[in-house]
Subunit: 405 residues, 2 copies
């Protein structure tokens, strides 16, 4: 009973004082806004503006073309990939950065169908089906539709929980989101990957809403291919390049549908015939986008010495505390949490169903609490453990309560 | 005879004095280097660093997620496309910026095959052949190979001059470079486009080495689709996003192989089924890369009030004068120009075949003349009319003569 007696604000103070990641908020440009939209666009790391200015003024402006070698531009896609690798549980040499998430979903899915020996169109007996998370962020479904059409496969939407029953001898590849963008539900990557493998199919995981917020364990769980963006919990900046993971033992057979010159074994040989490079860089396509790529590289430096397990602990504490404060502050029946209560099923966001959610979010933003609205009736709040504190959480719930009161 | 008597350096002075674009060099960050590699990476426009800094510190750092609307991030791909449009002879609403050139070649070629009602794999009687410029920059050929494979077409490399004889009832699409990256040869876009149309096929032009250096006339010549990069004569910065042109009357039937959520008619409706947006934005894919996109937008401001015809006049004067100075300074027989003498066949670069070209270029760079080396024996010099002067040209040829003397 003593716990109930402690006010949310007093509890927030205690939790902030005990927060082992609290000092990291000085690595970000913050203000008096409670920013709970880092699951859409991460805040600006303080090291980024200076780095970008150097890339523009010195590397581009002064060294110009020499920077492709001297400033390490050419090798940035793999180098930055290796910076992301430990955050998603991957050994070096398996991640390459570049292009958008959508483009990487396309590479991964067509590549997976080919790795599975699949594809229809008169193949006869081959695997000719792609399963896709029916609750996924839409772009994955649209791109999966195109990958299916171009490889002669059939696309079948299934709820993630139903994948073990749905995956079968016809299935070439399964595309799943690790965390549902809308509800914040965390799917069981290890067991779903196992079920996919048991059926002889390949798994493609979209890590957009999990990377940087919780442990992924790509290598540990034997994931085949994965993609993710870098502008959410990785704070790479608006539209910063996405990444592609191809497990090392699959790389030699990975056959990209976008074999641009950057993925050639000898890109400056300018040979008319294509010969793919070994390793992760086989996933490259065209000239890498250097300004954004190096802004991302600078942004990733805040992770130096940060354990993803402590990030996960704080993330769960933040979402637990938010749900607790919402119970305390928001009148009964005004919101309903779509985010699972069980830790094993929760990402790093809380989605609340709420009547008139669009205008409620507008009022929250006017009062300095920034989340976002997802059509038709969802308030979405993302909790980035690197820069969100428990006091922020208490204030957000309190303002929400006042707005709905 | 009197002209012969004038020394190259005196002539350079005269030409510089009469140069109507001379003042534009103050729009770029230049130094005492003669930079003849703007056909690979354009120099830094002076307005870019400040703009990028504002995008990073203010738009991202302070407004954060609000900038998608308030700073015009969301509409940037079409807005920046409309900035490029007049430079390539396109009315507004037909160009969208984003992704790499390679990715856009893929969209354009698969889209063109579909527009032609083509594609093999049991279609029966459909157009099932893609012609590709055999002398092209390699990535176009590699990507064309993938587009052909995925649409069930056959890929046939042909020299551009042979296209009129090669294009036929089986041809769905023809991919050509406007200017050959190696020799600097300008291909005859109007007549080749006509020949392609006469055979009922679609033309896809790669403008990487012509846009910003000479008039293209996309609308005037009825080009179907086109792509180009923005980091050469458009000075957008390293790896800045490329663009896709789809002629307005084809847009409604343009069926992209990369139908990401950004190209949806209602992107925030998050509908599980795909419905393409009208207009140029049907060519979008994923979240646009904002830092690079807005750096490019700032870079394009230098074109305000600049006519592409005057750029072309100066470009030809620069390459004429360079060839003249090379004749005057370089010992007979040491270099051979691969760039056509006829203006109608010349882009904005000069390629010289030269024994030991790799080490010759190294020595030129050490002496402050920056061009580039293309395997196996080519010295490439690009002339950007916006910031290269005739004095630069004379110095480059003189240093080349001394290096080879």
């Amino acid at each position: 009973m003593s716990e109930v007696a402690v006010s949310p604000s007093a509890k927030a103070e205690k939790l902030d004082a005990a927060d082992e990641l609290a000092a990291l908020c000085s690595e970000f440009v913050l203000d008096d806004v409670v920013y709970l939209d880092g699951n859409s666009l991460g805040a600006l790391p303080v090291g980024v503006p200076g780095r970008v200015d150097d890339v523009v003024r010195h590397q581009w402006g002064e060294l110009r073309i020499r920077s492709w070698e001297e400033s390490g531009w050419w090798t940035a896609p793999e180098r930055v990939g290796d910076r992301i690798a430990p955050l998603v549980g991957a050994a070096p040499g398996q991640i390459v950065v570049g292009d958008s998430t959508s483009v990487n979903v396309f590479k991964a899915l067509v590549g997976a169908v080919r790795l599975a020996g699949g594809g229809g169109g008169g193949g006869g007996g081959g695997r000719d089906e792609i399963l896709v998370d029916a609750t996924t962020f839409p772009t994955d479904g649209y791109i999966a539709g195109s990958a299916a059409r171009l490889t002669g496969c059939e696309l079948r939407p299934v709820a993630p929980a139903e994948v073990p029953g749905a995956v079968g001898p016809r299935t070439a590849a399964v595309l799943l989101n690790h965390v549902d963008y809308r509800t914040g539900r965390l799917h069981d990557l290890p067991s779903l990957t196992s079920a996919i493998h048991a059926a002889g199919a390949l798994s493609v995981w979209d890590l957009c809403h999990s990377a940087g917020a919780l442990p992924v364990g790509l290598d540990e769980h034997g994931v085949d291919l994965a993609v993710g963006c870098t502008y959410k919990y990785l704070n790479g900046g608006p539209g910063s390049p996405a990444y592609l993971y191809v497990r090392s033992d699959l790389q030699e057979r990975f056959d990209s549908p976008l074999p641009g010159w950057n993925s050639h074994a000898d890109p400056f040989g300018m040979s008319p015939s294509y010969a793919p490079a070994p390793g992760a860089l086989r996933g490259r396509v065209g000239t890498p986008d250097i300004l954004s790529m190096l802004a991302l590289e600078a942004a990733l430096e805040v992770w130096e010495g940060v354990s993803i397990d402590s990030v996960r602990r704080k993330s769960l504490a933040l979402t637990d505390f938010f749900l607790e404060c919402v119970s305390a502050y928001v009148p009964e029946g005004r919101v309903e949490s779509l985010t699972p209560a069980a830790h094993a099923e929760r990402g790093s966001q809380v989605a609340l169903r709420c009547a008139d959610a669009g205008s409620v979010m507008k009022r929250l933003i006017e009062r300095g609490v920034v989340g976002d609205f997802r059509h038709p009736d969802v308030l979405r709040f993302g909790f980035t453990p690197l820069y969100v504190g428990f006091g922020d959480v208490e204030r957000a719930a309190r303002v929400l309560g006042e707005t709905l009161g």
